[in-house]
């Protein structure tokens, strides 16, 4: 199976080339995909942890989210 291709457009000459990725570029892309997935998972985990902490704080204070907004307005 051939490697994926990329498009390169030289803005000076207007020449467009379709270039097959090298094995090294494919490996780099795979690595970047893994890093992106990791980063996304980290962001999701942080958002979830923040939401949990926020909910716990509201319970501790004995107020609702709307009441908290009112306090901060």
């Amino acid at each position: 199976m051939p490697n994926p291709t990329r498009i390169e457009i030289n803005c000076e000459t207007g020449v467009e080339s379709i270039i097959e990725l090298t094995d090294a570029e494919v490996a780099e892309m795979t690595y970047a995909a893994e890093l992106a997935a990791e980063k996304k998972a980290e962001e999701n985990a942080k958002a979830e942890a923040d939401a949990t902490a926020k909910a716990a704080l509201l319970v501790k204070l004995g107020i609702t989210a709307d009441e908290a907004k009112l306090l901060l307005a």
Binding site: P4, I7, I9, C11, I18, T30, A32
Partner: protein, 167 residues
């Protein structure tokens, strides 16, 4: 003098797709650059990745996003930009977006903005606003568009690069 947009170059992805669209040898004769993109991803549900001069390092961003059901915001250190229509979106529908890069040929760090929407005949579609910074003082002479996490843009995805004079 009136502001002017001039088409520098454009590309339409052919059959088989393409993993990236790379504008090279961008002339430094304009004030700003403006990229208009219409894209759809072949397999996943990613965001657009932008690289300048072959570098995807030293990028930071802040974003606002709405999905139709919820709003979110955040920031990060990566070359991520607006959402791309995922393969799960209604067939043959593409996302669209614009990336505006002022003072691209100057010798200061490069701030740029992006806005975009995914499109879908369904309940979820995204609208994004990104304010980004490339902490590098080099003049931009190459812009590479790809998808965060890799994979291909599908056939008929397009990218148009405009130069803006007298901005």
């Amino acid at each position: 003098m009136a502001n002017t947009f001039e088409l520098i170059a454009s590309s339409t992805v052919g059959s088989g797709g393409a993993s990236s669209i790379d504008f090279t040898s961008i002339p430094s004769t304009y004030t700003d650059l403006c990229l208009k993109v219409s894209t759809r991803h072949a397999t996943g549900s990613p965001y657009l990745a932008v690289a300048f001069n072959g570098s995807s390092a030293s990028f930071t961003y802040r974003y606002l996003e709405g999905s139709g059901a919820a709003a979110s915001s955040g920031n990060g250190s990566a070359n991520w930009s607006v959402a791309i229509n995922p393969s799960s979106a209604t067939a043959s529908i593409f996302s669209n977006g614009e990336i505006y890069i002022p003072n691209y040929a100057g010798s200061t760090n490069k701030s740029f903005s992006a806005d975009g929407v995914t499109e879908n005949n369904g309940t979820t579609a995204y609208a994004d606003l990104f304010a980004s910074l490339w902490s590098n003082t080099a003049a931009i002479n190459q812009i590479t568009l790809s998808a965060v996490g890799g994979g291909n843009f599908v056939q008929y995805s397009t990218a148009y690069l405009y130069g803006v004079k007298n901005a």
